[in-house]
């Protein structure tokens, strides 16, 4: 579809879909009008605005049909691995074998948003003692109890140690309900001391070789569990092929990010970019299709860049966004307020960096796991954010706190302090609950004020 880029509402997409279908435009097997998901309860879609490209439609359809895909995989005799918290490492291992499918039960954190709190998941979490003082990922508990949002996995893994307390506590509650969990340790990343061997990690940080060895040994336990589950051996060749596929996805995303964050006008909206980036973590349970979806999106973006079409103008305020939003609608809101995304750090930067291929695969995965922004210090996160701000030319930073998340209490303070001092940029810290309708006016005012600040600073 070569229409001028614009954001359209769900109803308009459904009408457009009918026209496309009638015209014989090929659709993937999971394709269909987005409106059908509303009938299944995803009512938030009615309030979002979507990019009008076919590539974006495919992206949304792919995202919203993951549950069906998991069920199909199980029906086909594949084993399901629920990988919790590590955001990008274990799925690379699991995806190396074609009879395993990995997914993140953590993804349930968006269900209260997408279903506008009508799923009852938060109420179930409440009844289990996990109330609103916890991160919205508590919806995962309800999803396990109801079994209505994803099939119960055959194996559950969870990384703990240098992770957020919310998730660790919620996962332990899940374990207490009778779901066995293979816990693996991800220690706090620190810099090597004098006379202590150091290892370069993806993303530019260094860690002691002993810490990398430790993580590698933890991942060996995961490998054994996956082998037992699949009945197959994950040898170096198998793992290397899995890493190569993951790196293919990361390369596509790198190109996409470069174009999306630097081209003027902006070739793709913030919301679709958020969804696209998320694919790097979990491949939406289908690595091959992830590659096809992202390639489609990249082709569309490249077409738009070449044609000079897109969203906003050269005057649009360039924002760097820190942490994912619990309510997807906020990404639309940013654009309404005159902003665009020029750089992101959604807590999984390690899932975007290329996995090293010049070292044995388990070593490479251990290095990648240790590069996780969550396991390092907020100062490390700030360093990475600073580098990306310079790379993409952002003019302000938005830190969107996740309600109740243990890391959000202090991270914003430190990141804000460093970015203000060393980049001289304004920083806005907001909190985004799963549904922002009630706070939307104040959020809008704050985002508009930030945009105004950015514009005023240009004229100084």
């Amino acid at each position: 579809m070569s229409e001028t880029p614009r954001q359209i509402a769900l109803r308009e997409w459904d009408d457009a879909y009918e026209r496309l279908r009638a015209a014989g435009v090929p659709q993937p097997a999971y394709g269909g009008p987005l409106g059908r998901h509303v009938a299944e309860g995803d009512t938030r879609l009615r309030k979002l605005r979507f990019d009008n490209s076919l590539a974006a439609l495919r992206l949304w359809d792919f995202l919203l049909t993951e549950e069906d895909r998991l069920q199909l995989a199980r029906d086909a005799g594949k084993k399901l691995v629920g990988t919790m918290k590590d955001l990008g490492t274990v799925p690379v291992m699991a995806s190396s074998l074609d009879n395993l499918v990995a997914f993140y039960p953590d993804g349930a954190w968006w269900i209260p948003c997408v279903m506008e709190v009508n799923s009852g998941l938060l109420q179930i979490a409440d009844s289990l003692g996990i109330d609103e003082s916890f991160c919205p990922v508590r919806a995962m508990l309800g999803a396990f109890v109801t079994g209505a949002h994803f099939p119960i996995p055959d194996l559950l893994t969870c990384s703990v140690g240098a992770t957020c307390d919310d998730f660790s506590a919620i996962a332990q509650r899940l374990n207490g309900l009778g779901y066995p969990i293979l816990w693996w340790e991800i220690p706090h990343r620190r810099v090597p001391e004098d006379n202590e061997g150091g290892v370069q990690l993806p993303g530019g940080f260094r860690a002691p070789a002993s810490l990398v060895r430790f993580v590698r040994s933890e991942l060996e336990r995961i490998r054994l569990a996956l082998e037992k589950l699949s009945g197959r051996v994950i040898d170096e060749g198998t793992l290397s092929r899995g890493i190569a596929k993951a790196n293919h996805i990361r390369r596509l995303l790198a190109e996409l990010r470069q174009a999306a964050f630097t081209a003027t006008p902006c070739p793709i909206p913030a919301l679709e970019m958020l969804i696209a980036e998320m694919l790097a973590i979990h491949f939406c349970s289908d690595q091959e299709e992830t590659i096809a979806v992202l390639q489609d999106l990249l082709d569309e973006v490249n077409r738009r860049v070449a044609a000079g079409t897109g969203y906003g103008t050269a005057d649009t305020a360039r924002m760097f966004w820190v942490d994912p939003v619990a309510d997807l609608q906020v990404m639309n809101l940013l654009e309404d307020c005159g902003g665009r995304i020029c750089g992101t750090e959604y807590l999984f930067a390690h899932a975007l960096d290329p996995i090293p291929t010049d070292v044995p695969p388990m070593e490479a995965l251990a290095r990648m796991a240790l590069a996780d922004p969550m396991v390092g210090s907020a100062t490390d996160r700030a360093a990475r954010i600073k580098a990306e701000i310079r790379r993409f030319g952002a003019e302000a930073v938005i830190v969107s706190r996740i309600p109740g998340a243990s890391h959000c209490a202090l991270e914003g303070e430190i990141i804000g302090e460093i970015v203000r001092a060393e980049c001289g940029l304004p920083v806005l810290e907001i909190e985004v609950p799963p549904l922002t309708d009630a706070v939307s006016p104040s959020l809008r005012t704050r985002l508009e004020a930030l945009v105004e600040t950015v514009v005023n600073r240009r004229s100084r």
Partner: protein, 327 residues
């Protein structure tokens, strides 16, 4: 002698002392005036109070915090930036069932030792460490170990015991209250207690309870008594083993804590449990319902913002009602 401040129970005081330095387990007090860390939504009051108390203290030569909770891990980031005292982050694994996790902890203690040497401590030989372990172990003077926790006018011992003694000195017996009715044995569990919130034990006593056991982070759950068995081979290895197995709900899985609780409940015939935690303490908060389901005993959850609520009429009324229901 240089003073090293910590609050997490996974920091072995013996190890600090063996380096010729003074360990001080800091139980935070409210700090008046300018705070190093302001009040922030979502921030654990204990973690904040610890950081502010450390920053306000003039007699601190080093600080050690651990990774046992995410908030304290992040407090490390802020302390490094905002105070002029060396700070060390001790990596305590959440998992405990693998040899590698135990080795990681041991390695961290060795790294901590090097930090202490950089601060002016002396790397201890086996004899020195053994000596310190003995000093802190058999019939140890807890006032040495926890000077902030045990005011000089009170006898040494776990807090629950301290308050029992206090109560007896007020004229009450441990089994009977002033009206002669039988007291209700209660277990107290939870995270650390700030200094002014330790009044909780007195309030329980005054409401007709008897502290059956003190399972708070500053109580006997976390106090390691190392006898001579631990000195037979490498004392550091054995010290690490003892501290590594402190039962705590933050471990994954946290079955060691439940095993400890089962033993305590059985041996002390507690008829109810009081769980205290500070707001935003996810690990204790999340455990409440599970413990309640598991022990099948009445439980009372008290959360506080660290503003001295434990002595408030509201908390007193809740504890009183809880005791009445158990009588």
């Amino acid at each position: 002698m240089k003073t090293i401040v910590y609050t997490c129970p996974y920091v072995p005081a013996e190890w600090i002392a063996a380096h010729g330095l003074q360990p001080r387990r800091l139980i935070p007090r409210p700090v008046e005036g300018t705070a190093t860390i302001p009040q922030i939504e979502g921030l654990c009051p204990y973690a904040r109070a610890f950081a502010n108390d450390v920053a306000a203290s003039e007699d601190v030569d080093g600080v050690v915090v651990t990774t046992m909770c995410d908030q304290m891990r992040r407090i490390f980031d802020l302390l490094v930036r905002r105070i002029n005292v060396p700070v060390f982050l001790l990596n305590v694994p959440s998992t405990w069932q693998t040899v590698t996790a135990r080795q990681l902890y041991l390695g961290e203690l060795e790294r901590f030792g090097r930090f202490l040497v950089r601060l002016g401590g002396c790397a201890p030989d086996r004899e020195k460490l053994t000596q310190e372990i003995r000093r802190y172990s058999v019939n140890k003077e807890l006032t040495d170990l926890y000077p902030a926790l045990y005011p000089s006018q009170l006898p040494p011992g776990p807090l629950s015991w301290v308050w029992q003694q206090t109560f007896q000195s007020m004229g009450g017996g441990s089994e009977r209250d002033l009206e002669g009715t039988r007291r209700v044995p209660i277990g107290v569990i939870g995270g650390p207690l700030m200094e002014r919130d330790q009044v909780l034990f007195r309030v329980i006593l005054e409401c007709g309870g008897q502290i059956a056991f003190d399972g708070t982070e500053t109580g006997d759950r976390t106090i390691r008594s190392l006898d001579d068995r631990y000195l037979s081979s490498d004392p550091l290895v054995n010290l690490a083993r003892a501290y590594f197995h402190i039962p705590d709900p933050s471990r994954r899985p946290n079955s060691e804590f439940y095993q400890w609780l089962r033993e305590k409940l059985a041996s002390h015939s507690a008829r109810g449990l009081v769980l205290h935690h500070y707001v935003w303490c996810d690990k204790w908060h999340a455990e409440f319902e599970r413990i309640k389901e598991w022990i099948k005993l009445p439980m009372l959850r008290l959360d506080s913002e660290g503003r001295g609520e434990m002595d408030s009429p509201r908390v007193r009324n809740r504890i009183h009602a809880f005791m009445e229901a158990l009588r």
